[in-house]
């Protein structure tokens, strides 16, 4: 997957409400991608600290040695998470350039947005592929309520399926509503605790963002 110089590294944006599992998703995704030879850089936008970036530096770099620590960069967004990834992606774009300079052979840069509301979208200048992640504990009404993020993202992820019985969320209802609101765009369930669904998610990224059929593990059914 490595090429000598890739100034246009693929960029994956991950947005979603506070606590829906954006950081956790990156933590389970990076090892799966790494196994398939895909090397990532990470930018973590955070509303009030650099806690998520520090956590990933620990879990993905120092503890597991999956990637160098300096390819994980935290950005404080001045309380404006959507501005930082949509109207004024200046700082994110600058940090992308810095990461590309550090390692021009990276395959993918993952950008986590700060936790925000359902209207979050990524500037097309910033992300080539946009995952919006919600979780079942916000209530099974969520896909139905829509919002730009849920409706227009390239992939809708419904996370924390393990919690569904505990919060009285009906996954069948969520699936029906997601199907309806997404029309013919993909969505999928995920359980970051067990990793259920993560291989399928990696397949989608590989086929729809990296366009690399050879690395596909399972067939992606849209």
């Amino acid at each position: 997957m490595q090429s000598s110089k890739k100034t246009n590294t693929a960029k994956l944006g991950i947005g979603g409400p506070v606590g829906s599992g954006k950081t956790r998703l990156i933590e389970v995704l990076v090892p799966v991608l790494k196994k398939r030879g895909i090397r990532c850089g990470i930018i973590s936008n955070d509303v009030i600290s650099k806690e998520d970036a520090e956590r990933m530096k620990r879990t993905l770099a120092t503890e597991s040695k999956l990637m160098p620590e300096d390819l994980i960069i935290g950005i404080a967004t001045g309380g404006c998470p959507h501005t930082a990834v949509r109207e004024d992606p200046t700082i994110n774009l600058a940090v992308i350039e810095e990461i590309q300079q550090k390692d021009p052979t990276l395959d993918l840069i993952i950008i986590e947005s700060g936790g925000d509301n359902v209207m979050t979208t990524f500037s097309p200048a910033l992300a080539d592929y946009f995952i919006y992640i919600i979780d079942v504990s916000g209530g099974d009404k969520y896909p139905r309520k829509g919002g730009l993020g849920i409706q227009t993202c390239d992939l809708l992820v419904i996370n924390k399926t393990d919690l569904a019985p505990h919060v009285g969320a009906n996954l069948d209802d969520m699936e029906r509503d997601a199907k309806k609101i997404r029309i013919d765009k993909p969505y999928q369930f995920l359980n970051c605790k067990t990793g259920e669904g993560i291989e399928k998610l990696a397949d989608r990224i590989i086929s729809d963002l990296l366009f690399d059929k050879e690395l596909l593990k399972s067939t992606v059914d849209k």
Partner: protein, 235 residues
Amino acid sequence: MYMNTNHEYHLMQLSDSFFPSGMFSMSSGLELLINNKKITNWNDVLTFIIEQIEFQIYPCDCTVLSFALTGVKNNDLNTVVNIDKKYYSMKFAKEIRNSSTRSGKQVLNSIIHMMENHDNSDFLYEFNKKIESKETPGTYPVILAVGAVCLGIPLESITRMLLYSFSSSIVSAAIRLGLIQHLDAQKILKLLAEPINKLILTNEEKNLEDIWQLTPLTEIYQMNHERNESRMFMT
């Protein structure tokens, strides 16, 4: 260079908080000063801005802007590079330096995008090459000078704009930090008009050696802010 009678319009465009400059994530040390109760009300915010302008932004950033503007007008790449390096070396806090070059480079990208296929935009590309080859850092006030010349904005106006943008980013940070409300923010900006005007009209002859700044306490706070685990702003 390119003459443009629409310079007032372009001035508004550049000074709009909607213009992508990354300014919304900067508080220039205000966050930590508020957290440490060194700034506790709207009047403190006003005083902070006036002091920052008088002892840092005007003598340093605005002087750099002015020399860079002359350099760009004269198509003198070397002079502009030297000014750019000098400015970079004068900012002690790492995050302040980083923010300046991060937003500088991205503002330059915007201007290049805006000026596509325009006559006399050679300087833009030449300067951009220097940044990409790391021969010059590409700091915000220098890039602003490049933009001002491209868009036909006179020195006095772009200087006023730089001071306004700085003030506006601080009051907007103060609102988001919960210290002041929106009406006080406008009052502060109104009260700043005259002191800013006075400074601009002093119009003294300057040398490159005259660039100075002296805000040690703020700089210490800015450096401490960098090490702060929990924070809302980049600077």
